[in-house]
């Protein structure tokens, strides 16, 4: 392109009056290597503009928040259903307990008493066991004392030998 035409375009460009097409022509002109020295600063400018268009996003954006929202709504409904169901079951089982006959209740109470008795005996047994424990610990003490006596014996033997 003729130099005077380029200079005309640049003037228009500086006045903000160029069209997109004319600006594309300018970019194209300044992408070549040999540029008159007085236009060098424009070359810098247009090459920079070109280079900046190569800046791209590196990040991929995780969408799908809409889907998970739907799923969350479904889960909350399911949870509510489960709670209602268990509550319903609890009420019905409580009703079953109430249906026990007097005889059955009596048997239930008697067995409870029997278990109580057994557990009482167990705790007593446990106490006697603990006294046995005490005896065994005193045995341990005695054993230690005997050991000490043995040592004493050893040393007296040594003394005798020296003599």
């Amino acid at each position: 392109m003729a130099l005077n035409k380029i200079e005309g375009l640049i003037e228009k460009y500086n006045d903000g009056a160029t069209t997109l097409l004319e600006e594309a022509q300018l970019r194209n002109y300044f992408s070549q290597e040999t540029i008159p020295a007085h236009l060098e600063s424009y070359r810098q400018l247009f090459l920079y503009f070109e280079s900046d268009t190569k800046q791209l996003t590196q990040r991929s954006i995780p969408l799908g928040s809409g889907k998970s929202k739907k799923r969350r709504r479904f889960i909350s409904v399911a949870a509510a259903l489960v709670i209602l169901f268990t509550a319903f079951m609890n009420i019905t089982t409580e009703n079953d307990e109430l249906k026990l006959t007097l005889d059955e209740l009596y048997a239930y109470n008697e067995t409870l008493k029997a278990f109580h008795l057994i557990s009482n005996q167990m705790t007593k047994g446990h106490k006697t066991l603990s006294s046995l424990n005490m005896i065994s610990s005193s045995f341990e003490k005695g054993k230690k004392n005997i050991n000490m006596l043995g040592e004493f014996n050893n040393s007296t033997n040594k003394i005798f030998k020296i003599k």
């Binding site: 903000g16 594309a24 400018l45 920079y48 800046q55 996003t57 590196q58 954006i61 969408l63």
Partner: protein, 172 residues
């Protein structure tokens, strides 16, 4: 109107999500923050996708949203001193990294663009990098076309003057 599926949504968003990112980066400077902003705005669009087919120009709508988001970010940053220190630190590491990989003259253009007032910066980005029509820019920024042409012209001239200054400074 049926709600957009994920693929339909991505089909609409993909052509201009990089533009959103670049605009965010121009305003917030830090790449990391620009990624955050883009993600937030896209998620916002996704959540309100039932309204999406009503917009005659989803791209302009998305870009208006990211612009507003970033301006809000900048405003709240002014209120919090700690954040300013943080981003200063980030800018520094970024420019250091940049100086290694990108042409030095590019860095100057970027630097001069940063010093422009926010509105001029945005207009320059939308026109000279993203190649939007004046009518579209007018929609996005809620300004009339003449005002846009005036600030665009001002921005272009300022950048050019500063470039010539730094160029001469390097020689003399």
């Amino acid at each position: 109107m049926p709600i957009l599926s994920e693929t339909e949504f991505l089909f609409i968003i993909t052509p201009f999500k990089d533009k959103m990112f670049r605009i965010a980066r121009r305003l917030l400077v830090s790449t990391e923050e620009a990624e955050d902003a883009t993600q937030e705005v896209i998620l916002k669009l996704w959540r309100s996708r039932h309204k999406f087919p009503d917009y005659k120009n989803p791209e302009a709508y998305a870009i208006t949203m990211i612009k507003n988001w970033c301006l809000d970010q900048l405003k709240s940053k002014h209120a919090q001193n700690l954040k300013i220190i943080h981003t200063n630190y980030e800018d520094h590491s970024q420019s250091l990294q940049k100086s290694l990989e990108v042409n030095d003259s590019f860095r100057w253009v970027e630097f001069h663009m940063d010093t422009l007032p926010t509105n001029q910066k945005l207009i320059l980005q939308l026109r000279d990098i993203e190649h939007f029509e004046f009518s579209e820019i007018a929609d996005m920024l809620d300004m009339n076309e003449t005002a846009i042409r005036v600030s665009l012209s001002r921005a272009r001239k300022i950048i050019r003057e500063k470039l010539i200054q730094t160029h001469n400074y390097g020689i003399k």
